[in-house]
Amino acid sequence: MIKNLTNYSLVILGILFFFSNIKILPAQTPSDAIMMKKGELCLALIYDYGSWDQYWEGATLRGNENIGTLTRTSLNPMIAAGITDKIGVLIALPYISTKSSGGQMAGVNGFQDINLAVKAEILNQKLGKGKLALLATGAFATPATNYLSDYMPYSLGLGAPEGTLRGILQYKLDFGLYARVSLAHLWRGLTEVERDYYYNNGSYYTTLMDVPNAWNYNGVVGIWLLDESLKVEANYLAMTSTSGDDVRKYNMGQPTNKMDFGQVGGSAQYYFGESKGLGLLVYYSQMIQGRNMGKFTNLGLGLTYQFKVIK
């Protein structure tokens, strides 16, 4: 019971890895395998500090002294709730600030996309010396403000509606070690920009830009320690756009770009006290490959608080 409570705040972590990137993938659904009980609520507030001083122009990694180091900080308030023992919902709305150390371009700040996610447990059964779980999540996100997506690399997000469907498979040994994989597809719509001509391997006479759809892969190995007060994870996260153009030489990116990345990271989450309702989260991640993206390093710190609202 207690474990179920505390575990759910880990849901937040899966989302964070996305919110922290230059290219936000709004409403990336929770990618862990844990469900909350009916009537439970989890509040979270996470601060993320992301930065890069090199970016991939197409597949070529380069620096740019007129950007210097780009920093992107975000504050992410989130609420998750258990609707039934098998279905949970989550809502999040990050506030993001961007700026660069070089050049004279102005950074921006503001609320980004409102994210809604629903997660369902399809299967959870004993298998050998552990448990096998299969889950599915669906999510939807859309810009909450009129931020300009066509202002790379400072823009707050891609400015397009996005739907995500994810499948999650986890095997957890009884002594606390577990492995998890998930696969998601992201459908992205159009973003409206403030010019009616742009080049995307040819002329486009419209204020609308097509944001590429994408596949997302996630692999995690983790373990519970200290009498299930501390959880430690290592993860790999990758995204591949299914279409899109490359950033042209020494040119600004735009939302039509094919943005890909691979990222490794680690996290730890500690739960205080006997009730274990309050949790502290730290994580770190580093992109190791990419295309048309800043090579982000992210550091995050968060508090989670979980409690039962309906008996």
């Binding site: 050049g103 599915a136 020494y250």
Partner: protein, 513 residues
């Protein structure tokens, strides 16, 4: 449990549907089809041309009679071709339409956008400039910045216009009927009503291919394929027979030679100066006025963009000095401080409307540039007013000559006054648009736009007020973007108007009004 899963799946399907249903085919060219011309301008062969001294300077012999065996053979092959068009052939006919000049203008804008990329620094901090002698680069040639693009468009449009005046001269001298008029069995795609010899479409195809191949040498194959398809489409449309096309191509090739001969000696090849020359221009301005513009990039670009574009040969203004604006207010003067205060205020409290205007007219790196933006607007007006190809060519030729003249005058002012940009004079100033690599005074956007609007207002009097409002908006967009002072914009507007008045005077006397 099952019920819940079903609900989840249904909600998700709805979300995906909302996202996917917004997807649509986004337009990659102007969506218009062949239209009935508002007039044919039968006397167009008498209009005054720019490069040619007389309409028969390019000699085109009389065509074979329509009763001749050779003509009848050509006619038969048109009939065969039009009777069984493939899907691709029909698509080509629909794409090129009966006003193909607009398509070639679009192609030019696309190439401008493709090549409007500023060379980045080398790993050692130096910069390499595109070299027409080794166009492959790196960096590839050209860097199609606004002055370069204004010039490419001017030569393109002038060649098209002179070529069509020649074509009109022979069309109404020889009066050869179009295939569909000779043989009722031939269905024309657009019944333009023009005598078919020489083919106006072929003039446009050949002239455009050759001018653009010179301006964008790496695109020769692409342009040749476009021209090939265009020429074939004239047969598939039932508009021309082969000998119409051959004669039209000949005119196009000859007029392009004249245009490119002028381009070869207009001074553009000296516009991007070596550093010592650039330094001496800067030092002269500092000696004259006590200020100088500096590039603020890292690493610093050693030379600004085309310091001697102001010395390029103008089309319709006798000397660049006679349109040079008055000096700008000195940094530190009350007028200067007032405009700086305005810039700070705008940056502090930028409205959504101001941000949108700044971005709407930005036309920066990677786009078709401000001259391209005005060509796009001219295209839309040409379609709206159902101009024939000759009137269309006239519109673009005068507008693009005025735009290039405006650019030359603006660059003269930029490097004569060598005035620093806001990011140089205001410590810590941040902008939402990138500051270009050339001095501030006067604003290129303002000057280009005002010149374009003045010519368009002359051609389309009912649109004059709108055009002027767009130009003013384009001018202010640079102030909202934080990269120009208000005086750059306002003086640029006056300068553009003044420069364009020379072109309008030429247009008023060309016999078309």
């Amino acid at each position: 449990m099952k019920k819940h899963i079903l609900f989840l799946l249904l909600s998700f399907c709805l979300a995906v549907f909302i996202v996917v249903s917004c997807e649509q085919d986004l337009p990659t060219w102007a969506e218009y089809s062949a239209y009935q011309f508002s007039g044919l301008d039968e006397d167009g062969g008498t209009w005054k041309s720019t490069l040619l001294t007389a309409p028969d300077q390019i000699v085109v012999a009389a065509p074979e009679d329509i009763t001749s065996a050779s003509y009848l053979a050509e006619l038969a092959s048109v009939k065969t071709a039009t009777a069984s068009l493939s899907g691709d052939q029909q698509e080509a006919v629909n794409y090129w339409t009966n006003n193909s000049l607009l398509r070639w203008n679009e192609i030019a804008l696309e190439l401008a956008a493709k090549y409007n990329l500023i060379p980045g620094p080398n790993p050692d901090g130096t910069y390499t400039l595109p070299n027409p002698a080794t166009p492959d680069g790196p960096p590839p040639f050209p860097f199609a910045h606004p002055p370069y693009t204004s010039r490419a468009l001017a030569y393109l449009s002038v060649a098209q216009f002179d070529g069509l005046i020649t074509a009109w001269h022979y069309k109404y001298t020889y009066n050869r009927p179009a295939p569909y008029e000779v043989d009722n069995g031939i269905v024309s795609a657009y019944n333009s009503g023009l005598p078919s010899f020489p083919s106006d479409g072929a003039v446009i195809a050949a002239a455009s291919r050759n001018i653009l191949s010179a301006m964008f040498p790496l695109e020769k194959d692409y342009l040749a394929a476009k021209a090939e398809e265009h020429l074939s489409s004239l047969i598939w449309a039932g508009e021309n027979v082969e000998s119409d096309i051959t004669a039209g191509e000949y005119i196009g090739v000859e007029v392009a030679k004249l245009a490119l001969a002028r381009a070869g000696s207009d001074g553009m090849k000296n516009a991007q100066t070596p550093k010592p020359k650039s330094d001496s221009i800067k030092a002269a301005a500092f000696a004259r006025f006590g200020w100088q513009w500096d590039n603020m990039e890292s690493p610093v670009r050693p030379v600004g963009l085309t310091p001697l574009f102001g010395k390029v040969k103008m089309w319709n203004v006798p000397t660049v000095e006679e349109v040079r604006p008055v000096p700008p207010p000195a940094p530190g003067s009350p007028e200067f401080e007032a405009d700086v205060a305005e810039l700070k205020e705008i940056a502090e409290n930028l409205t959504n409307e101001q941000r949108k205007i700044a971005n709407w007219w930005s036309d920066g790196l990677g786009t078709y540039t401000p001259p391209g933006h005005w060509n796009r607007l001219a295209k839309e007006l040409s379609i709206e007013y159902k101009l024939n190809p000759l009137r269309t060519a006239r519109t673009f030729a005068y507008m693009n000559m005025a735009i290039m003249d405006a650019g030359i005058s603006c660059w003269d002012a930029k490097y004569y006054y060598h005035y620093p940009r806001p990011i140089q004079t205001i410590p810590g100033f941040k902008t939402i648009l990138g500051t270009p690599n050339f001095p501030s005074y006067t604003s290129g956007h303002s000057t280009f736009s005002s010149a374009a609007a003045t010519v368009l207002g002359y051609i389309f009097p009912q649109e004059a007020a709108d055009c002027e409002a767009w130009a003013l908006e384009a001018a202010m967009s640079r102030v909202y973007g934080g990269i120009h002072y208000r005086f750059d914009a306002e003086v640029g507007i006056d300068q553009g108007k003044k420069v364009a008045s020379y072109t309008v005077a030429v247009a008023q006397a060309d016999g078309a009004d």
